[in-house]
């Protein structure tokens, strides 16, 4: 991590690849889903009370997750 980050930020030629964007989408969507569910848990909000706005957000996370998965096999092609 400490090697990759400086390479990314301070390298003039670095550009994200399709694979990296894919992993970022997969990890980001899972983390965001877990985060919202954790918040619901802390607020004692049962799954049955998840409203339409959160359902919409979860649906978008699912789409993002699937797109992320489909990008991973594209390897080092620049994003």
């Amino acid at each position: 991590m400490y090697v990759i980050l400086p390479r990314m930020i301070w390298n003039n030629t670095f550009t994200f690849t399709k694979r990296q964007i894919g992993w970022l989408l997969v990890i980001g969507d899972v983390a965001a889903f877990v985060g919202i569910m954790a918040l619901n848990f802390l607020r004692h909000k049962p799954v049955s009370e998840i409203g339409p706005a959160q359902q919409l957000v979860f649906a978008l996370f699912a789409v993002g997750f699937l797109i992320g998965l489909s990008l991973i096999p594209l390897g080092d092609a620049p994003a």
């Binding site: 409203g51 489909s70 990008l71």
Partner: protein, 541 residues
């Protein structure tokens, strides 16, 4: 294909392109007539326009419109300042008038359409498609009806589109000095858009993501610089207004989401613009899997997702899709131009196998595109049908095609059902105003002039035209009340004491505490219909 078949096909292609161009030019003519009509109309046409004029007048006097709503005249604004600052120098020249604000907004849409056309031409090198793309933007029912209003939205979209066009190829610029100028200009335009209307934050997100994906170092450095400039302006305004900028324009401006409205407006957006949305989405998919992600694609996705969702908020509406419509026109134009030039390439990857069986049809598809692409614009032209049905020369066209009005003052709008129903949140405007509307407005002004006391009017235009001070901004009071930031003691006390000569209501967008006080101390004298809306004239009991 023989040369003679080729010639015939090219002639059909040009004929269909001419039909598509004629159709979209027709909408441009409708738009011009509508803009000229509104620019001449002396009162509020859309709810809230008058308060934008009040902000402009205040800026022309060197005053901030962000102030406490608890003290007389209980006025504040939730709009960022740039649009009003641009219009402010025109106040000393043209006085209290809606004309220059509406003209500026209208001209802004023409700049946006030109920028869309330029972007499409730069990417696709097809003049026909470039012109069609720009005109398609102006033909959208949403752009049509908000374009010539004294409101900031169209100007925000102009700044956003210009920023995107400037930044789209910034990474390919190898001349360091020019690239830096390009970045500074593009990010400056995004800041201008943000200080025109807060919704432009999505364009900042899209540009930031694009720069981050392409070159993180540049994104971080320039993001920080733009952030510092933006934050300095923000803090400066906040200090100058004793914190009212934060309270009135930021905190009070975050509103609850009505998901039903969001869904209804998404359906309507697709119903009206589907002919362009599908090619735009296809180009995004192509870029995701076979090409590099363009700024246009990221802008389209972010604008559609975030602004589309936000369209369901109180104060939102179909205008929130304007940025997505601009992005749609650019992407669909690039798709169309690339298809006609048969420029699609599919570098090998695991998904290319899915394309493989269709490769043999590539020449046929390229030939068919000469017919299909113009038909897409003809189909779009049919989907966004809108025109006045009772004014020459449009009444003749309405008669020939058996088009009957489904909105006010003889207007037909395909966004509505034939009996006039429309999606929740869709702005009930687009019709032309009449002399009867102007006469009705002046009647209300005469009533205001007949009283010596101050007057509360839900539309600011009447009090402005009567030369009286504007008291309160109802929707802003409501915004503050929804956030628990409104007390209203002083205003309610004045209403209880019947300190106002008249109260003029339209949609009654006041906090409950104010409406209750009005109902106890005032009674309806008469109702005057202007522009299809009933204005209730209330006098002290």
């Amino acid at each position: 294909m023989t040369p003679s078949q080729n010639g015939t096909l090219n002639r059909i292609h040009r004929l269909l392109m001419t039909v598509a161009l004629g159709l979209l030019l027709f909408y441009f003519a409708v738009y011009l007539v509508y803009a000229v009509n509104l620019i001449q109309f002396p009162f509020d046409y859309d709810q809230g326009e008058g308060f934008e004029l009040v902000d402009t007048i205040m800026f022309s006097k060197g005053q901030w419109p962000y102030q406490s709503t608890e003290a007389f005249p209980f006025y504040s604004s939730n709009y960022p300042p740039l649009f009003h600052v641009i219009a402010a120098p025109l106040v000393p020249l043209f006085g209290t008038s809606y004309a220059y604000g509406r003209l500026l907004s209208f001209l802004g849409t023409l700049v946006t359409a030109t920028a869309i056309g330029y972007a499409v031409y730069r990417e696709g090198r097809n003049r026909w498609i470039a012109v069609l793309s720009g005109l398609a933007f102006l033909a959208s029912n949403t752009i049509y009806h908000i374009g010539p209003l004294f409101r900031q939205h169209a100007t925000m979209v102009m700044f956003e589109t210009l920023a995107i066009v400037v930044l789209a190829h910034v990474n390919e610029n190898t001349n360091t000095r020019r690239r830096r100028l390009q970045l500074a200009l593009g990010l400056g335009l995004i800041l201008a858009a943000g200080y025109t209307k807060q919704l432009a934050a999505i364009t900042a997100i899209a540009a930031g993501l694009f720069l981050l994906i392409r070159q993180p170092q540049r994104a971080v450095v320039w993001g920080l610089l733009a952030g510092i400039v933006g934050a300095a302006i923000f803090v400066g305004i906040n200090v100058a207004t004793n914190g009212e900028w934060w309270r009135q324009a930021i905190v009070a401006n975050v509103n609850e989401l009505k998901i039903i409205q969001t869904v209804a407006l998404f359906k309507q957006w697709f119903g009206l613009h589907g002919f362009l949305i599908i090619p735009a989405v296809l180009l995004v998919i192509y870029e995701v899997y076979w090409d590099r992600l363009s700024l246009y694609a990221i802008w389209f996705v972010v604008a559609t997702a975030i602004n589309g969702a936000a369209s369901g908020t109180w104060g939102g509406g179909d205008s929130y899709f304007s940025t997505a419509i601009a992005a749609t026109c650019i992407l669909s134009g690039i798709f169309a131009a690339r298809t006609i030039r048969a420029e699609w390439k599919f570098p090998p990857n695991y998904l290319s196998q899915l394309i493989q069986p269709f490769r043999q049809y590539a020449p046929t598809l390229a030939t068919a595109s000469l017919i299909v692409i113009p038909l897409i614009y003809v189909g779009y032209g049919r989907a966004v049908l809108h025109l006045p049905t009772d004014q020459p020369p449009f009444n003749t066209i309405a008669n020939v095609f058996n088009i009957h009005a489904n909105a006010m003052n003889g207007f037909y709008d395909s966004a509505r059902t034939q009996d006039g129903q429309y999606a929740t949140g869709y702005a009930n405007i687009g019709h032309l105003t009449t002399q009867a509307d102007i006469d009705a407005g002046w009647r209300i002004v005469d009533l205001i002039k007949a009283t010596d006391k101050p007057v509360i009017s839900e539309d600011a235009g009447f009090t402005l035209m009567a030369g009286r001070p504007v008291i309160t901004n109802p929707t802003q009071l409501l915004n503050l009340e929804k956030k628990g930031l409104y007390n209203g003691t002083e205003l309610v006390k004045m209403i209880d004491e019947k300190a106002f000569g008249l109260i003029i209501l339209r949609a009654q967008f006041y906090p409950d505490v104010v409406l209750q006080a009005i109902s106890q101390a005032y009674t309806q004298n008469e109702s005057i219909v202007m522009n299809g809306f009933s204005y209730l004239i209330l006098a002290p009991k």
